[in-house]
Amino acid sequence: MTHCMKIWNGGKTAWNVYRSIQAPLTKTHNNFCTPTTNLHISCLKPAQSHRKYSTAENVAQDAKTQNREISALELEHLLEQPLKHEDFFGVKDLVTVEDLFKARVHYGHKLGSRNENMKEYLFGCRLDVDIFDLDKTIVHMHTALNFLAHMAFREAIILFITKNPIYAHKVETMAKECGQYAQTRFWHNGCFTNTESVFNTFTWKLRLPDVCVFLSLDDRVNSQHEAINEAAKMGISTVGVVDSNVNPTLITYPIPGNDDSIPSAELYCRLFKTAILRGKEKRAEMEAELLKENV
């Protein structure tokens, strides 16, 4: 029997308060409101072309500068090959439903915090605690890991974002081990949309990330992370772990699951890392074969 309930759509006033408490400006910086950001500085390497986001052209130009002599046609053929296979990187062997259960991925938030858009991913409600349907979660997980592996194969810049201080350091170390980037500190508005002001890119060009991986979509103040809107505006694809209290509709590859437990965060870190490393390894392998043939 259905019944109407009233829930609290919290946090909007608290967000305004939080925003006014900003870090003080340092003297070494210029007059713009640009305190030091924690985007890894080599994530902001100058792009060869005027484009803000990376394209096949950019990557080919980067390859030329690194003296990897592969022609454009060969590169195109190389990039097309993995797309023909259903599971080129063997990503489905990485995780099972039992692993998800042991890592407590099926626990959601309470009934009063539920977002309506998450109803379809829920198995049920056990004593007011939302439980995710792990049969659906595993499918989403496989598609997202496959996407990440393909993007790593294409030498994309992957940025891990989370605002949960429990596993923020773990995410940073994991990103370093993959050779990718992480942003787990205060997010300054305009990092993607207003790069001229935030990073002072008047004299040099910027390359934005190609994938933003969110391990938790919400700020500590019960509101959505600002990077979600920014990435959606700038055409940056997103992968994200969506809990039962967040809106998943702006994420391209959502993974419904728990984002607050440490075992589940460890699982996600391990899976993302292995998927990305597999993509990179395959790329190195196939390029080496091509170079051998050329010689």
Binding site: K6, W8, N9, G10, L83, G124, C125, R154, G235, S237
Partner: protein, 157 residues
């Protein structure tokens, strides 16, 4: 999107549809398409992302919503409820045995309620004619046999 070319209306259409429209119109050239475009076309997400805004709250900051998600209840929940109601878990013996370690695996070290429920289920399968209350009493007696101290009263009589 890139400088001059692109749409930032993220609520009206997802990134794939916006880039597709730019490519079809010719504003964005095929060589300059984003890296994820081919991968998205080959492996699209399970559900196409379409923005659905959260409902706006009323004057008190509350939202009305319909609770469609089914509640999870098990057959054994009645037994567990009776345990709590009769306060069997609060007596000294059971409290000592009930001391749980959060770090240990539940499957290896069972709590008292788990043992009780397991015994109840075993009795339920063998004695099918008895009612719920009778089965409950039977399992209670079974555990009391292990602990004759419980039957002793405080008075020395």
């Amino acid at each position: 999107m890139s400088k001059g070319i692109g749409v930032r209306l993220h609520r009206y259409a997802n990134i794939y549809l916006r880039t597709k429209s730019l490519l079809l119109s010719g504003m964005l050239k095929h060589e300059k398409r984003p890296l994820w475009y081919d991968v998205y076309e080959a492996f699209p997400p399970v559900k196409e992302p379409k923005y659905v805004p959260d409902p706006s709250p009323d004057n008190f900051g509350l939202n009305t919503f319909v609770d469609d998600v089914p509640k999870i209840f098990y057959h054994e929940d009645w037994v567990r409820a009776m345990l709590v109601k009769n306060r069997l878990e609060e007596s000294d013996y059971f409290r000592k045995n009930r001391l749980l370690s959060m770090l240990e695996d539940e499957t290896l070290v069972a709590s008292f309620s788990q043992k009780f429920v397991a015994q109840y289920r075993a009795f339920e399968q063998t004695f099918k004619s008895l009612s719920k209350e009778e089965l409950f009493q039977k399992t209670h007696d079974f555990f009391l046999q292990e602990v004759p101290e419980l039957n002793q009263t405080d008075d020395d009589s």
